[in-house]
């Protein structure tokens, strides 16, 4: 962990020095830099998620057809993913790569804000650039709040009290906003779907959970939560993945109006052809068999390119493709 943590602590101290010994600006800058640096991973994760969503309507057809034969269903699912060139676990890898980075970012803030002898002793081997030790201890007071402690409401000044109340509220608000904007819109047929309900409930649970963290952890971490959420919202908006119309119907920010475009007839025909091929292939197999991959790489690229261009549901299949309508 130190291999990741020490460079982060060093960069945070450097930013602190550059930004006029202001730790809040330094945390903000480092969070923005890290979020931007991991943007390609986020983009890849989004692409993978989108590709998975695109095959969902076809997946439902397969589930219906093979509901009494689990082996064939599994084979058909794998074949469908192959036809679309989708790796069902593709969304996990970017997330896994991001996790240690986020751990290190969180850890660097915790260590840099260290204010006790133990914490400062730990800092003694973390700077990779000589000379930064003259910054120790970093200034930990901001708006009358001690950034190393959870917010206290009987603060030293009115500003401190207001800040102590505002910060957890902002953490909750930005967490809710990010959850709301990145949550897929509710489809009519998903209203009774337990998985969809669980996903929707995250919009409520996440802000409450992070609000609790904001009250329990140091104020510096709350600053990180807020900045990280805001940057995330901006990133999703720029990628056209933020569902602003869920807050204000018809609102268009960072891309196109969500929800009204349709699949072209050509795309629909292609989808029908794929599912037909999959079913034909699986039906030819003995019960419980495992299909061998027969699709050529060239064919995979062709199908993949076509499916990725799909941006909205078709009226004829609208109830099943609502999840694919954003780009």
């Amino acid at each position: 962990m130190d291999i990741l943590l020490n460079p982060f602590v060093t960069v945070l101290a450097l930013l602190y020095q550059i930004l006029g010994n202001n730790i809040v600006l330094a945390i903000t800058a480092l969070t923005v830099i890290i979020r931007l640096a991991t943007s390609p991973l986020l983009l890849q994760q989004q692409k993978s998620t989108e590709a998975t969503q695109i095959v969902q309507p076809q997946m439902k057809k397969l589930q219906e057809k093979y509901k009494n034969d689990r082996d064939k269903l599994a084979a058909a699912q794998m074949e469908l993913y192959r036809e679309h060139g989708v790796n069902p676990l593709g969304g996990c890898f970017p997330l896994l790569i991001q996790m240690p980075i986020l751990f290190a970012l969180y850890g660097s803030i915790t260590y840099a804000l260290g204010s006790t002898p133990f914490q400062v002793v730990d800092m003694s081997r973390r700077f990779l650039i000589p000379g930064l030790e003259t910054l120790i201890p970093l200034n930990k007071t901001w708006l009358g709040l001690d950034l190393t402690h959870p917010p206290t409401f009987g603060g030293v000044s009115t500003i401190a009290t207001i800040a102590a109340i505002t910060l957890p509220v902002l953490v909750m608000l930005t967490t809710w906003l990010q959850s709301k904007l990145t949550m897929p819109p509710v489809k009519p047929e998903d209203k009774d779907n337990p998985a969809a309900a669980t996903t929707r409930s995250m919009t409520t649970i996440m802000p409450l959970m992070f609000g609790f963290f904001a009250l329990s952890f140091s104020v510096g971490i709350s600053v990180y939560f807020i900045v990280s959420n805001v940057v995330g919202i901006i990133q999703y908006t720029l990628l056209g993945k933020a569902h602003w119309d869920q807050l204000v119907p018809g609102l268009k920010i960072g891309g196109k109006v969500i929800g009204k475009s349709e699949l072209t007839p050509e795309q629909l025909r292609e989808h029908d052809a794929i599912i037909k091929r999959v079913i034909d292939k699986v039906d030819q197999m003995p019960r419980g068999g495992n299909p061998a991959a027969t699709r050529t790489p060239a064919r995979a690229e062709e199908v993949s390119a076509k499916t990725k261009s799909i941006s909205a549901p078709d009226k004829a299949d609208n109830s099943k493709l609502n999840g694919n309508k954003k780009k």
Binding site: L102, S115, V120, S124, P130, E133, T134, I136, I205
Partner: protein, 392 residues
């Protein structure tokens, strides 16, 4: 279906909390905020260890907790078990945190300044706290307090130094403001307090009225107590330097660059300044111009405590768990045996010498660690052999 949905939701929420706990647990801070203090107390020169929520008195000859005795000298026992009572104060009801050596105020009473913003009075004979509420103080304390005829001087973790009335410690005589914390006890000489602060300054303050006499910027945090010798103060800072400073004016007379942060106080003996840094190096510098007499890489880990200087050796303890005896004249590692404890050493080392009241076969070096199974380790000061270990 509803039950299934609730179960999934519960699982997801639990997973999120576990993940958050994992994130914060993996990179969070360590338990405790500072290291143990060790000091000698009473005629018997017993070792007093103050750490976390307990204070315990240890017999230096055996490493066993001191047994409580009644007025007739008989060992007191626990009625239910018949076990002997030991000198052990542990606060299980409040989150007390003790990291400082006590003040011996009057016969039979010890006063601890603690991290929980209180002065706690402990009865020396009975290991008893008569007033658990304690006396509220301004802030948390990690530096040992000092005392003169009139005042108790308290240095606080986050900022400021205060003089309290010695008879009524709840009365504040004066407050001297600093920009950051004071993590080491002040040096009191002829009515002047000399102390370093994490705000990078070394201060000289009138002990009677709290007025500043001078202050000197040392380029980095100052976490140790200055040492006075021949009209000059010697101290190191996090700016990787050791300084020689005029006692009267605060002017920097000499300074010398070292390899890493200097945290522990230097020791001056026979015209030589002995100091160590957080890179594991030990230095012997001439007091005149801080020129190097010798230096040695003594340990793999940083050396936080002050060196302990005996007749023949300079003894240091490191974060890597190494205890090293260096030849005082040459800096060569003198004792190779039994050097590694295997636990992080952060607290200052303590030398316990034989006295009439407490005869010992040989002087001991007491090393404190942050590990419960090696809280105190006693070595022969001359032979480097491990004598006993106090575990908790």
């Amino acid at each position: 279906m509803i039950r299934f949905a609730s179960l999934r939701r519960l699982t997801l929420v639990t997973a999120l909390f576990v993940l958050a706990a994992f994130i914060t647990g993996c990179v969070g801070s360590r338990v405790g905020v500072s290291w143990a203090s060790v000091s000698l107390v009473g005629d018997q020169q017993n070792i007093l260890l103050a750490y976390h929520n307990y204070i315990v008195q240890i017999d230096p000859s055996s490493g066993a907790p001191v047994q409580l005795r009644d007025d007739e000298g008989q060992v007191r026992v626990v009625p239910e078990t018949g076990e002997p009572r030991t000198w052990n104060f542990q606060d299980t009801t409040a989150p007390e945190q003790f990291y400082t050596a006590p003040l011996a105020l009057e016969e039979g009473k010890l006063l601890f300044a603690n991290y929980t913003k209180k002065l706690v009075e402990v009865n020396l004979l009975g290991a008893r706290v008569d007033n658990p509420a304690g006396i509220p103080i301004l802030d948390a304390v990690v530096a040992d307090p000092i005392v003169d005829e009139n005042h108790i001087y308290l240095a606080y973790l986050n900022k400021n130094l205060q003089a309290l009335d010695i008879d009524t410690p709840s009365v504040v005589i004066w407050t001297f403001e600093t920009e950051n914390g004071i993590w080491s006890e002040p040096l009191l000489v002829n009515g002047v307090l000399y102390f370093g602060s994490m705000d990078h300054y070394l201060y000289a303050v009138n002990a009677d009225n709290g007025r500043m006499i001078w202050k000197t910027e040392l380029g980095g945090a100052v976490a140790s107590t200055p040492v006075l010798s021949g009209g000059a103060l010697y101290i190191g800072s996090f700016a990787r330097k050791v300084f020689k400073i005029s006692q009267s004016t605060g002017e920097i007379l000499e300074e010398r660059a070292v390899d890493d942060w200097v945290w522990g106080s230097p020791v001056v003996r026979d015209g030589v300044v002995y100091t160590a840094d957080m890179g594991g190096n030990v230095y012997a510098l001439n007091t005149d111009d801080l020129s190097e007499k010798w230096r040695v890489k003594a340990a793999n880990g940083g050396i936080r405590p002050s060196p302990l200087v005996t007749e023949d050796h300079v003894i240091v303890g490191a974060r890597s768990g190494e205890v090293v005896w260096l030849d005082r004249d040459s800096g060569v590692i003198a004792l190779e045996g039994a050097r590694a404890i295997g636990a992080e050493i952060l607290g200052d080392l303590l030398l316990v010498e034989s006295t009439e009241a407490r005869p010992l076969n040989e002087p001991l070096v007491i090393v404190t660690t942050v590990a419960n199974d090696n809280l105190l380790v006693a070595y022969s000061a001359t032979r480097g052999v491990k004598m006993w270990v106090y575990k908790r």
